[in-house]
Symmetry: C2
Subunit: 339 residues, 2 copies
């Protein structure tokens, strides 16, 4: 079967890989219906993380083709959505809602789902079957649930977005945009999108943003304060992962407010004294997408949300390298790969 | 009147100061019944913070002697307890429970309550009268409510201590010890005190600690994990404020757990990547003691808690310098100054 391998920064190739087989009795094999390229895939692509011949991809939807002897909740023929972190969903950490830190967690990045088939470990705890075979037009949204929507949703939950709250969103990539959608669904009263790209501002408004701030850094913080009686937002979603974006998020939050941070941290050092003085709540990390999947799938199935519109470029798997280039050059927000 | 002035590191003197007068109509003047020395007063005493002729002290209980025209909730003769941060208790931040970050906050350290009298700004929002004149033996506990108890209590609340939870406490000073008392009152199932001093271990057990860990740093983290099925504590109270203690707290917390940090941060830099991976909730800062005062005063009045036992040395105000020395040299955990 064919799959994406990253040989080094900027060097992505679609190559022949071995067809996955059941290794553990808890495994399932799926034939992918679609996969995609994640903002976090750009870190190694740009040389910020080391990479050397790694299979790529951790977002996936598809049809189960084979299951191990111990798998009971999905069966061949089921259309499934899974998280980018495989989890048993039964350990104490999973039961507390932190499946991305399951005691038996398997990061799907090691598996590589930018491919025709993939082995999904811990299938019962990782995969959720849709109510039936989805209409073709639902596939992008279901794929979004696998990571970007689940991550934006977690960020909004971690930031305690909800009725009566003003939510600010730092980062206008797919995760930030879907954080806006999540905040809206969770009932936020006002949503401030921080973005300087016209196309993303438009999507932000479509998802529920009520205000757009195009300043960044301290100037962006000032604008958020001006919009919130000088206090700052109740809830701030951080979806970038840099020192600047983290500080912008913390400083845009009112005392006692909540920061939900999901941008993968790169060279971030948080000053303890400022954090102490800010009195914000800080919570984030790799989203426990599995916690939210049943709810998100239902919302998509019922056509109440349309997160798939974040995919603004669709390419066949064979053209994955062009997809990486388009995202790296910001010609695309999020690339869907058809398989 | 007499009051404590710190002229420089290690140089504390009791001197004649001007008798405080009503400046704003929202002020009250109190005659102190007792004051005390805070662990945070040791930072400038040891040269870690700059100081040059500053009045000292921010913890206080006493009797109202005079009120400004706008004060309505306390009157001369009332015995009152106040927070170390004066607050209006009416702004949006106060109403959310963050009185220590009130939009009109006045840190009481500027006032200096290691003295015979003190001017309390924003008296209505800051002071809480006791149900009557307290018995003498209740005064140390009421004084503790003003800062160390209120701070330990906030740390336990921020760490979400409660039924079914295992709470670990980093720091065995007065705040850490009262964090144990708070966790117990909040219903924690198991409380792990991290302490290597026999006398403090004893007090920790008296307040409700079920386990004592005398290892520090990584070894301490390992012990907490051993005691919690390898997962870490649900809730961790940090009551020191150093890089080591913060990392010990974060690493002792299970994924998805809560760190409540109240040790005043000194040269702390939190690594973003580790925080991201840990998935802990982080919340802390200067405790909004005013939020908890009514409840804490009632618990003390009803003799349900006895936080005053953390004072292990009582001196007259005139001997404040000896009090500082005793705390600096760890001969005393917490010094009460009679006025």
């Amino acid at each position: 079967m064919r799959g994406v391998i990253m040989h080094g920064p900027g060097d992505v190739r679609v190559e022949e890989r071995e067809h996955p087989v059941i290794v553990e009795p808890t495994d399932a094999i799926i034939k992918l219906a679609a996969s995609c390229i994640c903002g976090s895939d750009l870190w190694p692509y740009r040389g910020a993380d080391e990479v050397d011949g790694a299979p790529m991809g951790h977002e996936y939807v598809g049809v189960v083709t084979e299951i191990g002897d111990a798998v009971t909740t999905v069966k061949p023929g089921d259309f499934v959505v899974g998280s980018f972190m495989a989890s048993d969903n039964t350990c104490e950490i999973c039961r507390a809602g932190y499946q991305s830190r399951c005691v038996h967690v398997v990061p799907m990045g090691r598996v590589g789902t930018q491919a025709e088939y993939a082995r999904i470990p811990l299938a019962d705890g990782t995969l959720v079957a849709t109510p039936g075979q989805p209409d073709e037009d639902l596939i992008p949204s279901l794929l979004a649930a696998s990571d970007v929507l689940g991550t934006g949703w977690f960020a909004a939950v971690a930031a305690e977005a909800g009725p009566g709250r003003t939510v600010a969103v730092v980062g206008d990539g797919a995760v930030g945009l879907l954080g806006i959608l999540a905040a809206k669904q969770l009932g936020a009263e006002r949503i401030i999108a921080m973005s300087r790209h016209a196309d993303r501002q438009e999507l932000a408004r479509r998802f529920g943003a009520t205000d757009i701030v195009d300043e960044r850094g301290d100037a962006g913080v000032e604008r958020v304060k001006e919009l919130t009686d000088g206090l700052g937002a109740h809830s701030v979603i951080e979806a970038v992962g840099t020192q600047e974006s983290m500080m912008q998020a913390i400083r845009s939050t009112r005392h006692g407010g909540h920061v939900g941070f999901v941008g993968v941290s790169h060279d971030v050092e948080l000053p303890g004294g400022e954090l102490f003085g800010s009195m914000v709540h800080l919570h984030g990390g790799p989203a426990p997408v599995r916690r939210f999947l049943p709810e998100l799938i239902q919302l998509i199935w019922d056509r109440k949300i349309d997160p798939g519109v974040v995919f603004d470029l669709t390419l066949p798997l064979a053209e994955a390298a062009e997809g990486y280039r388009a995202m790296d050059e910001r010609r695309a927000t999020k690339v869907l790969l058809t398989v």
